[in-house]
Symmetry: C2
Subunit: 161 residues, 2 copies
Amino acid sequence: MNNIHRSTSKDHNAIWAILQPTFRAGDTYAQPTDIFREEALSYWLGGHHTGYIAVEDNQTLGTYYLTPNQLGGGAHVCNCGFATAPNARGKGIARKMLAHALETARAQGYRAMQFNFVVTTNADALKIWSDNGFTEVGRLPNAFNHPTEGFVDALILYKTL
Amino acid sequence: MNNIHRSTSKDHNAIWAILQPTFRAGDTYAQPTDIFREEALSYWLGGHHTGYIAVEDNQTLGTYYLTPNQLGGGAHVCNCGFATAPNARGKGIARKMLAHALETARAQGYRAMQFNFVVTTNADALKIWSDNGFTEVGRLPNAFNHPTEGFVDALILYKTL
């Protein structure tokens, strides 16, 4: 069974199992590499975020969140974060989650999707966003201190829905 | 006595008195115009934010916060928000707060300051940021629904410290 659906508290262990290596690596998300489980789950699923998981053959292989990127006059633009289990990368999970997120966002009436901080060394993600019509609307000079590359730029990507 | 200093819980009423009309107007901050006091104070002073107030003649005329804009590999770039009491605008309070914030940020070791969402109709703020060396590094198309202007762009401004 292949499926992407809303997560519940029963999925927190599976989500943390994906977030932990992602955040520990420290090369894509601007989060502490020593982040605790509860901090990570709060970042991923807290506030106005809605969590989703991608399940294949009863294994949770990916997770994403969808949230308004701003409130008030900015609440028509959404933001998402995506993470795939290290042993499931290169299988198109992120692309499937993005397609699901775009469809969900449109259904919820969002007019655009924005990524606030895409590290320029994250080539795999940039390829997926570019293939799906996201354009670079901003570049933050030396905004990310990459664990091996040093200070690199981060990009702001935007797609009208 | 003119002074800009760290706020304490004793200043919450004074800060809310400034934030309330700012957020109610809904034309500069992407926050709900009907935001509650505690939500507004949590947005302004919560998380990793440090709050400051500008006091002149025993009146609190302005407030700002300083925070890392991201964590982990992005924690060397800070973010601020500024608000001035409606009856104290045009007196240079915001410029004084920005100067204080830049000095504080440098002293704390930040390498850059970023504003994530400056509405293009906010000419007073844009003039101050531009005069102080902030440059436009991003433009979010139609990202803000202005109460009278409709959908307008928002800018991302950045200054290396």
